[in-house]
Amino acid sequence: MRRRWYNLVFIGFASAALFLSACSGNSNKKISDDIEIPEEIFGDDKPLLISQEAMEDIIDNISSPVEMAALLKSTGVPFSQKLLASTNRIDKLNTNFKQALNLGVYGCDLGYLNMYEKTGSVINNMTAIKSLANELRIGQFFDFNTIKRLATNNENLDSLMYISVSSFNNMDEYLRQANRGNISSLIVTGMWVEGMYLATQVAKGAPEKEVVERIADQKLVLNDLILILKNYKSDANFADLVKEIERIKKAYDGVRITYEMGEPEAKEVDGMLIIVQNDKQHIDISDETLANIITVIEDVRNNIISL
């Protein structure tokens, strides 16, 4: 009886702790309306091929899709709605694997929409993101109301971009701390593939040098991507995804990257230290190799969005 009383007190305090935790976090981290389930239940307890620390390092290293979108915009290529993944088939994404991969895809599209200030379409995209994030029990990281307000009123687009990107960063940090690196790796993969899809489709129409070079130097990221996905290859879905990414890697065989070293220069301008790197990077990619990369990326991306 006495023990039962202690258990009841413990449950009471634990609930209070959860409530207080939710209240004391910032608005991006408020707890969702859903009943929270301990994350350990969903974690993959199989041993990893690489350490958790190494994996976090790799995931952190994969470039932000916002950078790719910024590059596309800087070349003067106009926005294209038809490049974006449809948000009509959210209901068909009925497993965590499909949801996480496609969350990455929509996350990348959100960066593209924000970059081109297509705030009208942000709401649709954000609705899809919120829905998938809720399914994955990470919806609390998206302050949907604030994003909706900023997008609807077309106000403070810098804030819209900041909230969107930081929401994904916070979510990713939380997933890894909660031992859900498998979900994190899928989101990152979805984002990377979609970013590459946008870039390759642009290059297909107008092969601007900067865009082609950015596509080519993603060769450096591919091994890392495969490494983190292989951690979970005991799952058949992951094993299939590794094969898909390996197809992309194969298409990159013809890309050659060489370097010429130089001394960096630094100067202070208006209180800011400006460092100019004088190393040079030379990229050699034939039209045939580029065409092959474009085809394979398109195929892999379309497979992801039709899962």
């Binding site: 207080l20 976090g25 930081s166 070079e213 950015r214 450096l220 630094a266 230290l273 400006i274």
Partner: protein, 142 residues
């Protein structure tokens, strides 16, 4: 009675930890507002203890892309004596730091990247003092 004290203590510690997280998130928000004509990419939070012998530091790896001008802005948390020193490294080579030879700080570091690859951002506190800070990585809108 012991159990109840333990529970209250756990609750108190949990609350304090959460407050600390909330404060660091708030610092990120404030710091991100001050990046000027740049777009936020990532943030790195550090809280390091004091040490005069071997000042602790935190290292964050990041891939930077050719043709992009990056900016690293640092904000120190209130209530700590430590002032954050940020170093941008490429392997073992120091590309630049916000700490000037005269002991003062530049407001930010700009890096015109000409070579896609892995770089690292090292954070420590001047004179090994205890400190908490946030570094924001952004790219400059050209």
């Amino acid at each position: 009675m012991k159990h109840i004290i333990k529970i209250i203590l756990a609750l108190f510690i949990g609350f304090q930890v959460n407050q600390a997280v909330a404060q660091s998130d708030e610092l990120v928000n404030v710091c991100a507002l001050g990046i000027g004509n740049a777009t936020y990419l990532k943030d790195y939070k550090v809280k390091l203890s004091a040490s005069s012998v071997s000042p602790p530091s935190a290292k964050f790896n990041v891939i930077m892309n050719k043709g992009t001008m990056y900016k690293i802005t640092v904000c120190n948390a209130e209530g700590y004596a430590g002032e954050a020193v940020v170093q941008l490294m490429e392997n073992a080579t120091l590309l630049g730091t916000n700490l000037k030879p005269d002991g003062t700080f530049v407001t930010a570091i700009g890096f015109q990247c000409q070579k896609t690859g892995m770089y690292s951002i090292n954070l420590s506190f001047k004179d090994g003092k205890e400190g908490a800070a946030v570094a924001i990585l952004s790219y400059v809108n050209m």
